[in-house]
Amino acid sequence: MKSNEIFERLIAEFPEDIISLNEDENSESFIYVNPRNIVEIMLFLRDENDLFFDYLSCLSGVDSKENLTVVYNLYSIQLKHRITIKADIPKENPSIATVEKVWLTADWHEREAWDLIGIKFEGHHNLIRILNPYDWEGHPLQKDYKTPEYYHGMRVPV
């Protein structure tokens, strides 16, 4: 299934939540969606027989100066097609509903996005840091992150 067909299926089902489709030859084709109904959209993408996105390849958080973006790279093992879903969330209140109920793999990906970018996933059963120590401060991949001087008495920068 081509990305524009997927887009049409989505816009027919969720007319208010689907924002735009971006297609480019040398780039990934992605669909911007509204973050508020993200779980319903994902469930629709997973459960419809002609979409059947049963595989969440990747979930990334991106800090693009103005706002934070959550990027879902979906793939269908049965139908062998792919699509990218993007949702912009504001920097002041970076929260979005969790999709760990949709794909189990989202659990650790979301914990990583919280740890590194600082996106809060509402409803996640165990949203704690995963890579950095549990008492780490700040979210290192945010553009305005400052490396701490000391951690537990060990000097961090050179």
Partner: protein, 383 residues
């Protein structure tokens, strides 16, 4: 769709204290610096909580601070056993963003090197799996023969482990004259050792009894957990990016996607994952033999398509079938010479997240084997 279940074990009215055991971060068989917090009821594992991040080396931060070609050495260090293969998805992604076409010879070389590296990685995987089961000798046999693969890489790139050989739009340099013969020799050595290890370890009754029926990962759960590579194929899902979404020139070759059949125990147990790796080594040998046939003999400038300035714009999710599974890079470029964001989707990270689900209720000795059959490299888990 399998729901996450809390396993409740009813021990009646017996009040016994459960042990909380800390495996790692330094433990002989956690394959690096993984820490597993295990709750034990006697020898039975009732809960596993993996704690990772002991090797978090800030790869994604580095990717944002280095230029595109400079990122490649850091990508080598993600999964340090499969450096050659790691470079491929990144390089392919950038090439697709910039619309670069590479010559047939470069593609053939990349394929051969990726498959050689797959063999090296699977050798370590099978070897350490055997070591987890207590058989130390196959480990050294595999390490002995892995040296011959490393010798080829060393002759090509000058490094034994971290190569930085595959570049954006080409390769570091052309092949050396006796490359074909070396590779053919290596394939013979590998086949001989594989037969030896089959006798010594994989067909061993004790080993089979140890590995069957533990860590059973059903196919639907594996897909939902996003597992890939031998872990997913061990559950009987014939999903292989080399065949399903061909990249390089894998579509020209005849090879089989090995899947677990559950011939000894249950489908998707540790034995299946291990035997898939074992058979994939043979398939890789076949691919290499075919690729050597289409490899052009004439020397050519493998750096000719390399761009002067790498500054792509756009974004891409590039993926490739690494020995451990699907390694993907989500690359965002904003037209500058440094990436705006690179997120690495590492197979080990995702495969490891399935460990708590499949190891509950097993014995502590099995937990080690299940972990070994998932075959993680902490460099890629923690990045």
């Amino acid at each position: 769709m399998a729901e996450r279940k809390d396993i409740e074990i009813d021990f009646g009215r017996i009040e016994a204290q459960r042990t909380r055991l800390n495996l790692g971060p330094q433990h002989p068989s956690t394959h690096g610096v993984l820490r597993l917090e295990v709750e034990l009821d006697g020898e039975i594992v009732t809960e596993v909580v993996p704690h990772i991040g002991y090797l978090h080396r800030c790869f994604e931060k580095y990717a944002e601070n280095k230029t595109y070609p400079q990122v490649i050495p850091y990508i080598d260090r993600l999964d340090y056993i499969t450096s050659m293969s790691n470079e491929i998805p990144y390089v392919l992604g950038i090439e697709k963003m910039m619309g670069i076409k590479v010559s047939e010879k470069v593609e053939a070389i990349r394929t051969i090197l990726a498959e050689l590296n797959r063999i090296a990685s699977h050798q370590i995987a099978v070897a350490t799996f055997g070591m987890d089961a207590g058989a130390f000798t196959p480990f050294l046999f595999f390490f002995r023969d892995r040296e011959s693969i490393l010798d080829i890489f060393e002759k090509l790139s000058g490094a034994r482990l971290l190569y930085n050989y595959i570049r954006i739009g080409g390769l570091m340099n052309d092949l050396y004259p006796s490359f074909k013969n070396d590779v053919l020799d290596v394939i013979n050595v590998i086949r001989k050792t594989n037969a030896e290890v089959m006798d010594l370890l994989i067909d061993n009754k004790i080993f089979i009894e140890r590995t069957i029926n533990i860590g059973v990962l059903p196919a639907d759960v594996a897909i939902s957990f996003g597992c890939s590579g031998p872990v997913l194929r061990g559950s009987g899902v014939p999903f292989d990016l080399r065949r399903d979404e061909p990249y390089l020139n894998y579509d020209k070759f005849d090879f089989e996607v090995c899947v677990g059949k559950g011939e000894m125990g249950t489908l998707g147990d540790s034995y299946d994952r291990n035997i898939v790796r074992y058979h994939e080594m043979e398939e890789s040998c076949r691919i290499i033999e075919q690729a050597l046939k289409i490899l052009p003999d004439a020397s050519e400038d493998v750096r000719s398509a390399m761009p002067k300035k790498v500054a792509p714009k756009g974004e891409i999710y590039a993926k490739a079938e690494n020995p451990k599974g699907e390694l993907g890079f989500y690359i965002v470029g904003d037209g500058k010479n440094k990436p705006a964001r690179i997120k690495s989707r590492s197979a080990c990270f995702v495969n490891l997240s399935a460990l708590p689900a499949i190891s509950q209720g097993s014995m502590i000795a099995d937990l080690i084997l299940i972990l070994g059959s998932v075959d993680i490299v902490l460099g890629e888990v923690d990045r």
